[in-house]
Subunit: 383 residues, 4 copies
């Protein structure tokens, strides 16, 4: 508990995620779950009245129920009991100004993905993180699942041998109907390609997180599976990783009847791993010289350190999305507490995705769009 380190919880301010927002409640549960944060300030909506009322309903004191994020960042910067960090869960096109100001005012930042609306903005934020020396987490939340970390740890330990093939999927249905739902995602505020920005970056990052490898080139088929609509709802891509491994990716939010559909299947010289977010507590381990095994969060030496650190309850009790999300929040809190305490950090590897992971996501989007325009392979730009 961070209370053992600094004698109090991390003070957190929220930006966005007001009434009716699913992602807002998700961030708040993630902050509450392990008792590492006190949510003491909020600017929950772009509508000043709704922003203030929503904060009061959450139990936030009237003084810190702010009407706007600008007001919150300036006011908090001046308080002696100022917040330590802000969590940003607004539409994509506002991430850049909010993060820039929050960093300038000296706050640590948790920002929802994608990091920004385009690659240039993302690089600006990354540069500002460097100059302000802040902690910064991009909530690629699926990296928080224990079995995703187990996969990463196994690959780092060489249990699959050299990685040879990567296959990523994210197959949803929320745009499968012919009529587009209203909302900022379909109103041009989501960046250059809806499906790439909204869920493509998740799948792309998941592959990089688990393998520890970056994609260097790709050839993408981006467009709409449902004819005639003005937004992208489909991408399939051929990938080449930095070590020469081949990969592919199928991401869509227009596959009628699907639910979540995020998965990876990765093969190395010795075997393969497959994971599906819809059954997150099982990791399928195919072995070239032995039968398939089903890795679970069972405690014991066979479960990796990263998986054990990310698990709260075992003996077959399932954990889910909220626990995975909370893992990022809790790891971020521990890092911030170390910074507050001024002690050297522990030597444990950081798990939560960084600002550079956010930049890479936007580079993937840019390369995919360019590949579609040219009809061939494109390099993915580096940091």
């Amino acid at each position: 508990m961070v209370t053992s380190t600094i004698g109090r919880r991390i003070r957190l301010g929220l930006i966005g995620g007001g009434p009716g927002s699913i992602i807002g409640e998700t961030h708040r549960i993630a902050a509450r779950l392990d008792g590492q944060y006190d949510i003491v300030a909020a600017a929950l909506s772009s509508n000043p009245e709704r922003a203030r009322q929503a904060a009061l309903d959450l139990g936030i004191g009237a003084e810190r129920a702010y009407a706007s994020w600008q007001q919150m960042l300036e006011a908090e910067a001046a308080r002696p009991d100022r917040i330590d960090a802000v969590a940003v869960m607004t539409p994509n096109d506002s991430h850049h100004p909010i993060c820039m100001l929050a960093l300038d005012r000296g706050f640590h930042v948790i920002c929802d993905k994608p990091l920004a609306n385009d690659l240039a903005q993302a690089r600006e934020i990354a540069a500002r993180v460097k100059t302000t020396n802040a902690e910064f987490c991009v909530t690629y939340c699926y990296t928080g699942f224990p079995m995703v970390r187990q996969a990463r740890d196994m690959i780092r330990a060489g249990e699959l041998g050299e990685i040879r093939q990567v296959h990523l999927q994210y197959v949803q249905s929320y745009l499968a109907g012919h009529d587009l739902p209203a909302g900022w995602r379909t109103e041009g505020r989501a960046g250059s390609s809806l499906v790439l920005m909204d869920i493509g970056t998740h799948a792309f990052h998941l592959g990089a997180f688990v393998t520890g490898l970056d994609v260097t080139r790709l050839c993408a088929d981006v467009g709409s599976a449902i004819p005639g609509r003005p937004v992208d709802d489909y991408v399939s891509a051929l990938l080449r990783y930095e070590n020469g491994a081949r990969g592919s990716l199928w991401v869509t939010n227009a596959a009628a009847g699907s639910e979540h559909g995020l998965s990876f299947r990765i093969h190395g010289d010795k075997g393969g791993l497959e994971w599906h977010q819809e059954e997150p507590n099982r990791l399928i381990h195919r072995r070239q010289d032995a039968f398939e095994e089903i890795i679970t969060r069972r405690l014991g030496p066979a479960t990796s350190e990263g998986a054990q650190r990310s698990t709260r309850i075992a003996i077959g009790h399932p954990e889910g999305y909220l626990e995975a999300f909370a893992n990022l929040y809790t790891e971020f809190a521990q890092r911030v507490a170390t910074r507050i305490a001024g002690t050297p950090g522990d030597d444990q590897p950081t798990r939560f995705p960084s600002v550079s992971d956010g930049v890479k996501g936007l580079a993937f989007v840019a390369a995919s769009v360019k590949s579609m325009a040219t009809g061939g392979w494109q390099d993915v730009e580096r940091m």
Copy 2:
């Protein structure tokens, strides 16, 4: 949020669940998850020093970091900002004295299962709940899963027709090794039959919760699967429900290699439902005149009201054990807030298990033990 109803969160005091206790952290996460409680007091251990330090580590104020549950109940009873409720997560044999005093001092109570160490104790607690008019929840936590509630709602709505067959399983492995682990569960503090008390009551209650039916007679094979050990680790029983339905139950904590293994499979005239706690977000619906369907927490009219009320996040994001546990806590908080506000409760059905469910669990244990002694069928005593 209860803050909208009474302007503050429910004030909760914890009894038991100190350092190293899995069930303790589970209860605390359940209390924190929806932001309905402030944990302001605690007596976390039977060791006074450890009790106080553990409470401080949790961020509880020094004044309310109590050395014992007796001290906490008396001191809190005298405070103007006294706790509204206590949560009891101590070994079984202390549930009775703690609950009796807590009720006498006017607190609402959340108590871990089994309710008490025997049927007589359980009936005394139930009687005291009646005279004190307190809210009381027994944490048969598996009833909190959305798909368990979906099953219950479907059966109540007649979607399976008249219930004809019930099959319950809870197949674990934590006592599969020949050497019994140390701890109160194997040291005679767990009541007349370890396996029946520890997990048998969970499976038994799950069947009753989902079908809405009580077992009236049973014939049980209770004992140890591992020869020569002094505790029960196995029960298999033939069941007869109040409507004439036949049932069976297989519960053990000595099935080597198993993980959690709680499941039900229920058939009525029109079809059947099957659910496994290890994959809790899927409910298998077998239909006599149509193909099997897989019911999920997908929002929409096909998901029952009970399932939708118990779900925080959808579109295929998995939820787990902690969310199920938190559902009981949150429903309890809403009920307590209604009591504090003095307003008439909403007309929604209570979902969290009651003290009478706790009594029925002990009646099941008693009937099973008696059946094993006599080698034949026994009636299950009523409230």
Copy 3:
């Protein structure tokens, strides 16, 4: 191939299984699949005209398209090119007279299960097999699956340690409707208890085959899940095996919406095995000290000799019920060829179920019925 041993195929005569019979075509496919038999004679129906026409439609010569089984057994006994064996797939109540005459006329016999209509008949057949020194197979066909043999081989090799718990299920739906279908199974020709005779014996034998253990005592709940019907459609039983292992069994053909539902789950000191007939090519191996593994028919040292011998095609190609059934036929053909050749048999263990397995099935039925009548535990009679 038996052609390599005796220069020709085994000559087989069929009794029963005429037009519209599913089990008849199943036996014929089983006989054809490996090319070990020539089906040269048949008495396919109790109606003489239908019997002859059906045989002609199968391509059997007119001379050996018999009008009755009595005619076939007498005529074939007199031919120089007489059949080697008969396959019996008539209703239960005719197994006894057919088998007795076939044995008396010197034929080897494949008989569908259950062996006879009651335990006394079964014992008479077994005695006659002994005096005639015939080969005799009872088609408990589910023992032919490679993964069932894998399980048996693993248990014999001690891979689970001492067997402690056995759980058997066979949960079907073909009598789930309120109106009983017409046919001999529901017309009193199926013996003392429909569900026990029809599918209960399958589940019971499967447990014995896989564990190598007999049940010595049981306590059964036998009756009808659907109220008011004159036949049994439900049995649940508590079992005690000869080594002290505990077991249970749930068998019904009245669970609305179910399909096949035959499965076993067995636990020993070191781990457990679970198999479902509906996904027969996977054997779940739970291990106390390692992750669960999924055993398949993959060739290689990890697959048992019994599984490899029972598999025709690998690299993940699924095999099914007909291949399992054919395994019994092919093993029987090999045994008969050895007898014809007069050479000593190979030293490989027989796999196909014997007449004594058939007797044990009827002993299980008798004990279950008696247990239901007395309301308590009963011994299962031995051979």
Copy 4:
């Protein structure tokens, strides 16, 4: 049965598939399973001695145990009881000469896939089929599974709406080891690209069979996942179907630890279907406005005519690869019998894959290889 139509079985001659050949025994089982063929002639090996002995071991008469396929085709052409059809299961590079001569001598032909070693050869065979008016089946055997036909029938009936997305996989491991196994597949006799010819054509045809749509353009990444080897073991491709639907394909035989891995997932406007060859009796039906359903071979109106016609045994009994393969053989036998009888064929749609399906497979191989060479999209040539 064809015996009812023409009074005898179809007379079949085998070419290839001698001792040790898995595909040879597969074809023979497929021919035997339904009793529609008499295997009366064979040229089983390119080694004359082995060819003759192997035929004798199968029980084929000495006169028709041929030393070579040329000898068999010429000798059989001259017999009054000549074979009706030949089945070709030799290495790819001999398909063309064998098929051409067999057609010229007036036989109907069953040929293993791929049809030929390149597109030009394939087109020659197709032209000869036309001029000789023969029946011709290419054994894309996976189209024989009942649930594959169910999928095809549902899509033809419009149950998914317009098809929008197709995803095909065939992920095996038999070339995952660094040392290539010996054999014709890796010795240059398998055509221009091992993985495309060997399993790529299966996956490609499966997509076309189920959707009823042809691929018009593609962009492929073809090569070796294992560095430095001289054969292709990996292909991933972006596909565009004739109706505008987008698709993708991942096929490899070098994914360590995999077993079979053939699957399709197809989405239309109203829902999607997913099928895996390793669990072939389940077809997952995702529906946009209802819960997922699991379609099985259950008899009744909900199972399509094509599925019911392709099923031998139901009530949950699994069928597998050999039954699927046998479906092609049996349908071919029925067609040949109709030709022999000289009666007009029934009006039922042909199910077995035709010579034109074989040509399309080679066109897919050619386009993929060309795409890899050019680094961009290529048209797939039409018949």
